[in-house]
């Protein structure tokens, strides 16, 4: 049984996508901007109206409360939002090991959320998401604002997390070298739909 499976997912501007993820698998998703990668992730997290069947461990999402679905199918948007004063108020459960793997001390929880740099926001948003312990990670360009050191930290954290929790990840990226480093498989989304099972976008049929 597949850990995560989408069949005939479609919505406005996106038609009939099917794919699946196995446990511990990290699948990179690339494709031209405007092809609908973000819309695809939003639909998988059930944030917008969409059609099709999506299963987590064989259970269809409509059979789960939406809150439980989104906690287990965790979506990290490209731009994170912070609404309370301090960083710590945004965490349900704090995991110091995740923070330290991302290069933060515990005191980061007392920092003012609005003073974070874009790179700090991006890493802390990932830590916030992982504190829910999701089984599926839907990451929208999670290293776009990061320097090479922090990019490596995020890559290592996610691959460790997938192994430890037998989770799976769909990771949107445009960087061919990143796909080469981390992906067990690559998918390519363009106006014709979803394609590819090789490792790089160049192997995907045009």
């Amino acid at each position: 049984m597949k850990l995560f499976e989408a069949r005939h997912l479609s919505r406005a501007a996106l038609s009939d996508l099917s794919f699946s993820l196995s446990a511990s698998e990290l699948v990179c998703l690339s494709g031209p901007s405007g092809a609908g990668k973000t819309l695809m992730l939003r639909s998988l997290a059930d944030l917008d109206v969409n059609a099709g069947s999506v299963y987590l461990q064989g259970v269809q999402r409509e059979r789960m409360p939406p809150t439980a679905w989104r906690r287990q199918v965790g979506y990290l948007p490209a731009e994170s939002r912070w609404w309370s004063e301090t960083v710590g108020e945004h965490f349900r459960r704090v995991q110091a090991d995740i923070l330290s793997q991302l290069g933060f001390e515990d005191e980061v929880l007392g920092w003012q959320a609005e003073r974070l740099s874009s790179g700090e926001r991006q890493r802390l948003a990932l830590a916030r998401l992982l504190s829910n312990q999701p089984r599926i990670l839907l990451l929208d360009e999670p290293t776009a604002n990061l320097d090479p050191v922090n990019t490596a930290r995020v890559e290592r954290l996610v691959t460790d997390y997938l192994r430890k929790h037998r989770a799976a990840c769909l990771w949107v990226t445009h960087a061919a070298d990143q796909i080469e480093r981390i992906a067990s498989r690559a998918l390519y989304l363009d106006s014709h739909g979803l394609a590819g099972s090789g490792k790089g976008p160049e192997e995907a049929p045009a």
Binding site: L47, V49, T67, G74, P77, R81, W83, R92
Partner: protein
């Protein structure tokens, strides 16, 4: 009581005309709006005076009920038109009208049957003014609250969705907005009660005193009205916010801003 003649009222109208002429140079459109509104006041109040006169002469539950529903219908429209972004379709009208119906009518019935305890309870001299004051104030509270709610949801959509993404339920995702909105709906009546008698003499009481009623009696009625209004607008706002939040999300707890229209 000193009777006012049409001439007396025309003298007061001159003040409004003077204001309109003065403001015409600064903002001609506003001066025109002022005159139209003043004219509407004169016509609408004269008409309702005639209606009430006929109704008082012929106290009948059916006519009282019909007039009440007409008032509700107009108030519902008013709530809808005051929304910057309102719910599309019949919801835009329905949420305001239903919440006003629940709160104003219940509070008015309670006041008429339990508090005033007149015979018959629907005697129009009491029921229509009471309902009118309730509807007017509830309408303001609900219109303000709904406008704030839809506007805030629109502006803070990213934050609401960020919280949904982290597994918050829809009510949790809008809890902060909801509190602010409820506050904005209740603040006018809280301020009015806090300032009553010190800063301002409430209009109804002033009217009764001018009409020759003994001040202490007028005050008692004013206190009753204030309490009824705060209950009416408070519960009305609660109901409206509750219904609107439900409509903002669907059964999968997705934020549905597509259900709003400008």
């Amino acid at each position: 009581m000193i009777h006012l003649s049409v001439f007396d009222l025309s003298l007061a109208a001159l003040l409004v005309v003077a204001l309109a002429l003065t403001s015409a140079r600064i903002y001609p459109g506003l001066a025109w709006q002022l005159l139209v509104a003043a004219l509407r006041t004169a016509i609408q109040l004269t008409l309702i005076g005639l209606v009430l006169k006929a109704l008082f002469a012929n106290s009948n539950l059916l006519w009282v009920g019909l007039l009440s529903l007409l008032m509700l219908a107009v108030a519902g429209r008013e709530v809808m038109t005051r929304q910057h972004r309102r719910f599309a379709g019949s919801w835009g009208y329905g949420i305001g009208a239903v919440s006003m119906f629940i709160s104003s009518f219940t509070v008015a019935l309670f006041a008429l049957i339990v508090v005033v305890d007149n015979e018959p309870w629907y005697q129009p001299q009491y029921s229509i003014p009471l309902l009118g004051m309730l509807l007017g104030n509830t309408m303001n509270g609900i219109a303000l609250a709904l406008d704030r709610l839809t506007q805030s949801a629109w502006e803070q959509r990213d934050v609401i969705e960020a919280r949904l993404m982290l597994g918050y339920s829809a009510p949790e995702a809008v809890s902060g907005i909801r509190r602010q909105v409820f506050r904005s709906g209740l603040i006018p009546i809280i301020n009015a009660m806090a300032a009553a008698g010190i800063v301002s003499l409430p209009g109804m009481m002033t009217g009764q005193i001018l009409a020759g009623i003994e001040p202490v009696e007028a005050v008692k009625y004013q206190i009753l009205i204030m309490f009824l209004i705060s209950a009416g607008s408070g519960f009305g706002t609660l109901a409206a916010v509750h219904l609107a939040v439900r409509r903002l999300f669907d059964e999968r707890q997705r934020l549905r801003l597509d259900r709003l229209q400008r």
